[in-house]
């Protein structure tokens, strides 16, 4: 329950922080923290244009996308407080839930019959496939480390042993920050601010969405960021009491947002053909974490 409220709260101004960081780093004054949210509210109030080529799938996909991310958020715990739903192996369902939303977004892009949107859809499908192994190995390592198989139990028992867990948490944050960047199609892979359809991933998929649907999709992106931020914060919160953990949550989330802003300001977008290699780095770092855990547990035969 706590985590749900916190994540929803954070999602309101997450991209505000990113934009603010970017504007400060490029020497601009920049908009306020809530400007992205105001934009989304405006979109929610607008009418829309729907392509005649589309079918019902185009209509329902944004709603399903939002619902899938929201359901995934329900599983995230806040340190010692379990998420709305918690069961053994919940992170498997977490990953598949997100995949459901993505499936519908991809086919809704193909639904428009556009010459560009299929391109984004194709890339989105490929990159999200490449990211999955990293996430599963990461969670697998922590399952091995703690001997538990649900988000809540993993995070609440993470720091009972040695302090090496903080080191693992640091590495895991690196992987998760990049997973979040890839899942949300941000800078090193994809530039959301580009103006050329040929180089876009996520933005080109939603070229035809407008009005309420576009607003929903943009809000879902923020929610996803806040969700990954919450997972990262969980690596460090552990069983701390609420009055310490809540400020820590916000500090980590804002730190995450600023990191994203810094990455976006100082990194150039990769060539599309080099992206898979970059994504494989995540899997290999996850494998590194896994072998680190094996080393710590003394399981090397």
């Amino acid at each position: 329950m706590v985590s749900l409220i916190l994540i929803l709260l954070m999602s309101l101004f997450f991209s505000g922080f990113i934009i603010r960081t970017k504007s400060i780093l490029s020497g601009r004054k920049g908009p306020g923290l809530f400007q992205p949210m105001f934009d989304i509210f405006r979109l929610w109030k607008k009418g829309s244009v729907v392509s005649t080529t589309t079918s019902f799938i185009f209509q329902i996909a944004p709603s399903a996308y939002f619902a899938s991310v929201l359901m995934a958020v329900l599983m995230i715990p806040h340190g010692n407080n379990p998420g709305f739903i918690s069961f053994n192996g919940d992170f498997i369902m977490f990953a598949y839930m997100l995949a459901f939303g993505k499936f519908l977004m991809i086919i809704s892009a193909l639904d428009t019959g556009s010459s560009f949107e299929g391109m984004g859809a194709s890339r989105e499908a490929l990159f999200s496939m490449l990211v999955e192994p990293a996430f599963f190995i990461l969670l697998g390592s922590f399952a091995l480390f703690t001997g538990q198989t649900s988000f809540h139990e993993i995070f609440s028992t993470l720091h009972y042993g040695s302090h090496i867990s903080y080191l693992l948490g640091g590495l895991a944050s690196f992987v998760l920050v990049l997973i979040a960047m890839i899942e949300n199609s941000r800078m090193p892979l994809d530039d959301p601010k580009t103006h050329l359809e040929l180089t876009m991933i996520h933005e080109v998929m939603i070229l035809d969405n407008s009005g309420f649907d576009l607003g929903t999709i943009m809000y879902t992106t923020n929610l996803k960021f806040a969700m990954y931020g919450a997972i990262i914060s969980n690596f460090f919160i552990g069983i701390l009491p609420l009055e310490i953990s809540i400020p820590m949550f916000f500090i980590i989330q804002i730190g995450f947002a600023i990191t994203v802003g810094i990455i976006e300001s100082f990194m150039a977008r990769f060539r599309m053909g080099h992206n898979p290699q970059f994504v494989f780095i995540l899997t290999s770092v996850s494998l590194l974490i896994f072998f680190g855990v094996l080393l710590v547990l003394g399981k090397f035969a």
């Binding site: 929610w44 109030k45 607008k46 009418g47 829309s48 729907v50 392509s51 080529t53 589309t54 079918s55 799938i57 209509q59 329902i60 709603s63 399903a64 939002f66 619902a67 359901m71 739903i85 069961f87 053994n88 192996g89 498997i92 369902m93 598949y96 839930m97 995949a99 459901f100 499936f103 991809i106 086919i107 193909l110 639904d111 428009t112 019959g113 556009s114 010459s115 949107e117 299929g118 859809a121 499908a125 490929l126 999200s128 999955e132 192994p133 599963f136 190995i137 697998g140 091995l144 538990q148 198989t149 359809e197 070229l207 309420f212 929903t216 599309m272 053909g273 898979p276 399981k299 035969a301």
Partner: protein, 677 residues
Amino acid sequence: MEKLSVEIVNLLAIMAVICIPFLKTKGRGILTLGVITLGVLINSALAFSVFTNGPVEYFYPGSWVTGSIPVRIDYLSAWFILVISFTFLTGAWYGVRYMKKYSDQSDNLALHAVAFILLYTSLIDICLVQNSIVFLVIWEIMALSSFVVVIFEHYKIATLKAGFNYLIQSHICILFLTIAFIWLKVKTGSFDLAAISTFTASQTPITGLALFILFFSGFAIKAGFVPFHTWLPLAHPVAPAHISGIMSGVIIKIGIYGILRVLMLIKTDMITAGYFILFVSVITGLYGVMLAIVQHNLKKLLAYHSIENIGIIGIGIGLGTLGLGYNNQVLILSGLGGALLHVLNHSLFKSLLFFSAGNVYQATHTMNIESLGGLIKLMPRTGYLFLIGSLAICGLPPFNGFISEFFIFNGLFHGLVSGNFTFILIILFTILGLVIIGGLAFICFTKAFGIVFLGSSREEKHHAESIEEPKRIWPMYLIGLLIVIIGLFPLLFNSFLINVVSQFHPGLESLPKMQFAEILNTLTTVGWYSFGFLGMIILVYFLKLMISKRRTVAKGETWGCAYPVPTAKMQYTASSFVRSYRKLAAPILSIKKEKAEATGLYPENIMQKTHAVDKMETWLIDKPLRLLRRVLNSFVFLQNGNIQAYILYGFVFVGLALLLPTLIEKIVVIIKFLNQL
């Protein structure tokens, strides 16, 4: 009672086969439907009674050839009887409408009906009979009848080629099984399958392992494990849609039944066997889906997906076998339970997908994904059913595929936290494999559904035929309903599954109640959660409808980057959709490319063709065959068309066959004599 019902089903089938030649085409259809439906009802009742009253065993005296014929209907048989029966029920009802197109080929249809009934009956009997000779005979009937149903359109050369390929490979499968059974017979003197237990219990684990691998290779050909998969992608596209659905849904599963049956009986080093199965299965799953993505033929794509799903089932079986070896009950339950559930689930969504593909074929007369498009407006029911099947086969919640994959994943992660180094490493790579399989299936079905059903038609020539008649659609609705129900109520079949799994490991019922309840509770939560998810989607959608009611919703063209006259040809195609994947997987796949680029001032027509080649097929089948042919060609002078020469060969053969034993005896005597000197 059980004995009677089995006999009734078999008698019904024989009667029907005898009656069919005397009926008119329409009567044949009705008779086939009636017999299959009645058989399904009786068999389902039989299976349910086994699940409630426990396994049944009885014997026929048999003849001097076969010895006594034991018939054992246990939980494993009952489970497979249920799976087979359901798919045949829907397949028969769908098939009757599908075959309406061919109603002028009366004789052909009669043969098809006969083979169809034989196929169903033999599949059911394979699950019951436990005498190896009778088993092989029924297996042969099954192989032949499935060959006949596959080559329905035998006037097409491609169909016949694929059919013969299938026929030959089925017989290689029988060859493996025959060798294994002869070995058993020679060593134990019994045709009873239970001899596997008594034989392997008295031998070293290595012997047991060798016997297991022999059986596994035989059944793997039927199931389509890599590298024995090559018949699948050939046979599926040429068979009529309902046969493809049944073949992918249950005929390949009879191979899984065989593997499970042998695993249940054999006493050997289960740990090595488990690692072996896991290794083969991960390769199978990955290879199947990697090739599926680059296919252009919708049915071929689905066929490669059957290979992938056999891989997933195999991963479950391997995990369960490891559990048997390490005596870890959670692994046994989630591995074997997941595998068994996936057998059911795959038979559901794969038959649904094939039936939908059949509808697409009859409406458009093509299976080439590149020339389809926008079909969801032409045939919305088929489209949405195909979508349900696609989501289920990708293992996405809230559909049934997720439940069985969750089962297996749960077991894998449980295995990860309990075990030694090698075990953990193997499990890690299995998880990695399963995740990548899932991700690739995701790419593949976004492509298959998106390109075939969405956008607008890539070729104008589709004639909108009304093929979505209710009689054709209702079996598909039935499957779709079951897919959703299993997704939302995962506990539906759990008592069955626990019964089946407990046969592999008699101590399973003594599994600590706590752990048991925990696994079941998890599934209940998953079910409720899926409900919540559906509710959430509907809620958000209605919210959207409420809000947009007060706004203007305009219709317009798809955004073409300010280009005013977009055409259907400018849409993204299936090949371009998987292009980045193809580039990435290029070292493993081999893709033949033909290209004609625009050159000169007045360029000719440009074109590009890509064709995925199955490397395994080239290396393991085509090349050895070519070699064999070259060797055998040097003996071609023997085939001179001269009848006298043939008679001479006959005499030489008979003479050799009669003389050889005596000759060898004499030689032995001489050698012995020489030794004594």
